[in-house]
């Protein structure tokens, strides 16, 4: 998936990927896509939950060999 901005959260445990996502999304323009790289498995359900709470669009999580790439489209 193509992203406009990438946030590296490799090696960080919950809740840091979500807290950093919340900070980072502020720098994006509406319509842009943020890619969050993480190794904490929690991101699979945490990211859609965060999107639901904040109204951002969750585009999905890709998993490959213990690495997760979550995609969020800024809608507001």
């Amino acid at each position: 998936m193509k992203a406009d901005v990438t946030l590296d959260c490799f090696g960080l445990l919950c809740p840091m990927p979500i807290i950093k996502t919340a900070e980072k999304i502020k720098e994006l323009k509406v319509g842009q896509v943020l890619e969050v790289l993480a190794t904490d498995e929690g991101i699979k359900t945490d990211m859609p939950a965060w999107c639901k709470a904040t109204g951002q669009e969750f585009l999905g999580v890709e998993e490959k060999e213990g690495e997760y790439r979550a995609y969020v489209k800024k809608t507001a």
Binding site: G11, L13, P15, M16, I18, T21, A22, A53
Partner: protein, 158 residues
């Protein structure tokens, strides 16, 4: 839309319990919730400056000498082992890049979490405003928390 409120009473002053409280508080703030942390009893130690002791009379001074304040001096609720447990836990947390309680306090402040200190504990322990870190937003009582809880979506106690 008015933000949903997440309120938590931090009664315990144990590192592990306080860590859980801060993880939820900072995450809730990241989810655009309005977060209030109400520190009471042992929980007040999180907001205390590191001092040898504090208190107005002898008993208070003796108690506060034993009951040390400071976010980086909290004991563990299990396996404290005279401070060896927390020392080990701090190293393990650092190895896994988990922020310390001190860092969580700063992060919570940056995210707009409100830190409220209980006035009753404050008074009977003989504390003074100067015993507390600058980050404390207000000193308040039970009715303040209950009103927040009435308005709140989620209210917890640890």
């Amino acid at each position: 839309m008015e933000n949903e409120k997440f309120n938590i009473v931090v009664f315990s002053g144990d590192m592990d319990k306080v860590l859980a409280a801060f993880i939820l508080a900072t995450t809730a703030a990241s989810m655009n919730m309005e977060v209030n942390m109400f520190f009471t009893f042992w929980g007040l130690n999180v907001l205390r400056k590191k001092k040898l002791t504090s208190g107005k009379n002898l008993l208070q001074k003796m108690m506060n000498f034993m009951n040390r304040g400071g976010a980086d001096r909290l004991p563990l609720s299990k396996f404290n082992l005279l401070g060896m447990g927390p020392a080990m836990m701090k190293v393990m947390m650092k190895q896994s890049k988990v922020p310390s309680i001190e860092e969580f306090v700063k992060m919570a402040k940056d995210l707009g979490v409100k830190l409220i200190a209980c006035t009753t504990t404050f008074s009977f322990m003989g504390f003074q405003k100067d015993d507390f870190i600058d980050g404390v937003d207000s000193f308040a009582g039970a009715a303040t928390f209950l009103q927040l809880a009435r308005e709140g979506k989620i209210s917890y106690f640890i």
